[in-house]
């Protein structure tokens, strides 16, 4: 942030000079006011609406929404999906960051582009591709139905689609940081006799721990909240293949608004916790930089 204060020891200085690199107070006021009005209208009001609609018919109905076994199954499935896809993408993220950031090889930039690819694929298409692979008309469809394995309209499809959508999150946080940190510390450790694994565990991992956590948090938020991709592959079977966002959709379309917003409020709390942790980690990284 740019400091706008000047030393009060020069009261004779004309006020126009003091404002050379900032705007007059009324302009500042106007800009802050407009920006905040936009934020309130587009960010805060929708957030408040979620909680207010969830509690519109009283606290009892709000909590009743969570006693519905289908809602509990949806919470369970969402947690299960995140518990599988986040670790998968974590292992991938570390492996990808290690080879891309620590080594120089031909085709590196191309590989980097491919890692980012899922971000530019729209969620619905992310669902479609798994239907084309494992659906009844898909590549492996006949084989899967012969062997009585269900992937589409079942949990494996949901996990696959979620993993695809959250694929780059952790790699993308680690790669720039590890590139910036270079390889000197690892080389020193190796020269001093550490094994490759020791070097990784004691040098590399501690160096990137905050960025790693940052990536995991973002990845987890998206994994729990994904709607489009999961919607295509889930089949919307209540109590079996409904994640929380899909359960919200079903309740909303049944005009059961209190229950829909009650489940939404859980997801909104998750989003707020994500933002809180994210700010905390950003603050930690900033502090580490200053040390």
């Amino acid at each position: 942030m740019v400091s706008t204060t000047t030393a009060p020891s020069a009261p004779q200085a004309p006020p126009t000079l003091r404002r050379a690199t900032t705007e007059p107070p009324w302009v500042q006021f106007l800009l802050i006011g407009t920006a905040l009005a936009f934020c309130v209208l587009f960010l805060i009001v929708p957030l408040i609406a979620v909680f207010s609609e969830a509690l519109a018919k009283g606290v009892e109905l709000y909590f009743a929404a969570f006693q519905d076994p289908d809602a509990l199954a949806a919470v369970g499935l969402t947690l299960l999906t995140a518990a599988i896809s986040v670790p998968l993408n974590l292992v991938f993220g570390v492996a990808a960051a290690w080879c891309i950031a620590k080594f120089d090889f031909a085709g590196k930039n191309f590989l980097l582009t491919l890692v980012d690819l899922p971000f530019s694929v729209s969620p619905v298409i992310a669902g479609v591709i798994f239907v084309l692979m494992f659906g009844s008309q898909g590549w492996f469809g006949p084989w899967l139905s012969d062997n009585d394995i269900k992937i589409i309209f079942a949990v494996p499809g949901i996990v696959l689609a979620t993993t695809f959508v959250t694929f780059p999150f952790i790699a993308r946080e680690l790669i720039p940081l590890m590139q910036e940190q270079g390889t000197e510390q690892e080389e020193t450790a190796l020269v001093l006799g550490a094994s490759g694994w020791q070097t990784f565990m004691r040098i590399t991992l501690p160096n990137v721990r905050w960025a790693l956590l940052y990536g995991v948090i973002l990845c987890n938020a998206r994994a729990m909240g994904e709607f489009g991709a999961v919607s295509v592959v889930s089949g919307h079977i209540r109590g079996l293949t409904n994640t929380m966002p899909l359960h919200v959709e079903i309740l909303y379309n049944e005009y059961n608004f209190v229950a829909a917003f009650a489940v939404s409020s859980l997801l909104a709390v998750l989003a707020l916790i994500t933002l809180l942790l994210k700010s905390f980690i950003e603050w930690r990284i900033e502090q580490q930089h200053q040390e």
């Binding site: 404002r19 920006a35 009001v45 292992v91 080594f103 090889f105 729209s122 966002p245 917003f261 933002l275």
Partner: protein, 277 residues
Amino acid sequence: MTLTLKKYSVLPGFGLSLGYTIFYLSLIVLIPLSTIFFKTATLSWERFWEVVTDPRVIASYQLTFGASLAAALINAVFGLLVAWVLVRYSFPGKRIFDALVDLPFALPTAVAGIALTTLYAPNGWLGQYLDPLGIKVAFTPLGIMIALTFIGFPFVVRTVQPVLQDLEVEVEEAAACLGANRWQTFTRVIFPNLFPPLLTGFTLAFARALGEYGSVVFISGNMPFKTEITSLLIITKLEQYDYAGATAIALVMLVVSFSLIFVINLIQRWSIQRYAK
């Protein structure tokens, strides 16, 4: 790995990590994504053209592009403003607002969708004031635009903010010393530096809006030819077991979003070259 392709390094684990990266990338991303191309290839060229230029599909492109473009433009203006205010001024609650900018990334799109629909419905908190004025938001293209503005908001702020933070105040001082007024300093000194990130943020928000589904599907009302976005049309075709048709439209969208990513890379290369001078 041959030595000519890879620079020598004492660090271990290159083969393992690269091998695993390529294996996992192929399994989760490349092979599934290739199905789009193979499935579309089963259509004849005439049939493909017929599917992707069907009047209902064309109407959905127009709506999706129009609403996404409008939303990205709104985000460019207000994103720049919010980034400016967050970097340059101090006011109470600034840290909270700064953190809240990322809310659209963290809040599941379905939740955003039902919240916005409820707010802008004719009897909603905001809709009740707009309805008497004849402004209908829910179940119209305007509603789609609002949902897309919400989900694309963080992009512009988060691309402009770091550049604005790194801008040196000396340059502005020099401009002021040379007699420029504040507006001239902004338009001729500050803004040219902010333009590349602004363009990047705009394109990212636009690309995200083109593919958005969760937040739009609730507020749009999904009427064919009027408020049906392309993503929804793909799902509709899938539900009718028209896999080839769904895939053909998906291919069109995929090509458009890859082209946008290419444009973003060009912008970034161009801005790096500009700074190098």
